[in-house]
Symmetry: C2
Subunit: 280 residues, 2 copies
């Protein structure tokens, strides 16, 4: 019971905090993402180290922070047409990681390098899309657009849970996440589609999205959200961890909460820039 | 003798082919880079597999090709201000890699993933900068700009060789590349500076670069070129390989030839976009 109360309390407080942070995006979102990135990277590093995989802790936090700051829209898109500030930051962070290994290679420098680089792309690079989406195409619409993957992910989770509970028969990915079923995945997709379709038809979004866009988006975002979940399970399984950590009271690790959004938010941004606002 | 003749012949032919490919950049550079990327990735995959590190061969070639095509300037910079086509491609290739692992995780899915992602960034992502630089800011100047890191890298090699030979005493990075000396590194930097300075002062480049720019660039490109060399040594050492492969008759592997340029070309592009044409 204690645990349930803690869970509910963390959920409600978490939800309100998230809304607040998103609303005051210009001031609060950047520091919030810096915090999330550091905590999530800490969990990743922790899981790696428990498997005797060495990762450069501090450089990863600093490099991750650089990648997120580079997504801040105040700096403009990038220094030139074909390159974004995020790529500039990525290039310098990679160079910096390499310099560190060349100076003190230790025992297994390549292993340290590849796991650090993966952590960098998996957490701060993907989190940077939250900031990009918040201001796409401007601060007002961006707020609504950023709510879409959050709501769609929630609908996917709820739909997946109930469909899986009642109709779940065929395993979806038995080696990665044994609890998931094909029926649950389809249910998540369906509920998310209904919710996204309703939302995009009833709000201002309908002015820029066609019904076809809404359908395509619902399928993409729900699939991405489920893939994010499976990807994190895969990482945990490979690193023989049950939870990613214990950063959130009663909810296990932060990465366990963030996993779906890490994919749902970038796909929303890519969908909007490539399909809706379309092509250069 | 046979080997020396082969070496010289490969060098001369190679040099002429490179000039030709660069000159006809719009038609020949893209297929040439696709070929280089595939051959270099093959060497990387080969080194990994000999150490029993499993990498997704075909997906890596295809993903690498996508990353290079995304750098082709005909597509414009990117779908939106804060994101380039290369990042769009990177996001989809990463997602694709993850889907493959979720579907058939095999024994060590995370290991396969991290080494594949590193190969993707190290080879095709860096090679993409060749294409970006070739057309910065247009096809005429871009040709000259792309020659700069090639010449600077050559000067760094020559300077490093002779200074190292005559004055070499202190080891530069004994654990990574025992043959390199601090004196050789400084010599490479000096000769490269003289050559770059002369070139940028005597050609049209002086119209856009100040003398200060030329100095800064010479230090950056020569350091990057030497770091590229050390980085490849580090990778080879970690994978217990002497040469990266035997793709070039008499010259060992392609990666052994390409290593310095993989860093010198991107730093030239970053220098031009961030410092010279400057900041959004």
């Amino acid at each position: 019971m204690e645990s349930l109360r803690t869970r509910v309390l963390t959920s409600v407080v978490g939800f309100l905090v998230v809304l607040l942070v998103l609303w005051f995006g210009r001031v609060l979102l950047l520091p919030a993402l810096l915090l999330l990135s550091t905590v999530a990277l800490r969990e990743y590093v922790g899981m790696c180290e428990r498997q005797d995989l060495d990762v450069r802790r501090k450089s990863l936090y600093v490099g991750g922070a650089a990648l997120i700051v580079a997504a801040y829209p105040a700096f403009g898109g990038g220094p030139w047409d074909g390159i974004s500030w995020r790529e500039v930051a990525l290039a310098f962070v990679l160079g910096y990681f390499l310099i560190l290994e060349v100076i003190s290679p230790g025992e297994r420098p390549l292993e340290r390098l590849v796991y650090s680089v993966f952590g960098l792309l998996y957490i701060p690079w993907l989190l940077g899309f939250f900031l990009l989406l918040r201001f796409l195409p401007d601060a007002e619409s961006g707020f609504a657009f950023l709510l879409l993957p959050l709501i769609a992910t929630f609908a996917t989770d709820v739909g997946g849970f109930f469909f899986g509970q009642f109709f779940g028969r065929r395993k979806l990915a038995p080696e990665v996440s044994p609890g998931k079923t094909v029926e649950g995945a389809v249910g998540g997709l369906l509920l998310s589609f209904v919710v996204v379709f309703a939302l995009t038809r009833l709000t201002f979004v309908s002015e820029v999205w066609s019904a076809y866009d809404a359908l395509l988006f619902a399928v993409l975002v729900s699939s991405a959200s489920q893939l994010g979940d499976l990807a994190e399970s895969l990482i945990k399984r490979s690193l023989k961890a049950k939870d990613s950590g214990s950063s959130l009271p009663g909810h296990g690790g932060l990465l366990d909460r963030l996993d779906s959004l890490l994919f749902a938010v970038p796909i929303t941004y890519l969908f909007l820039t490539v399909v809706v606002y379309g092509g250069g």
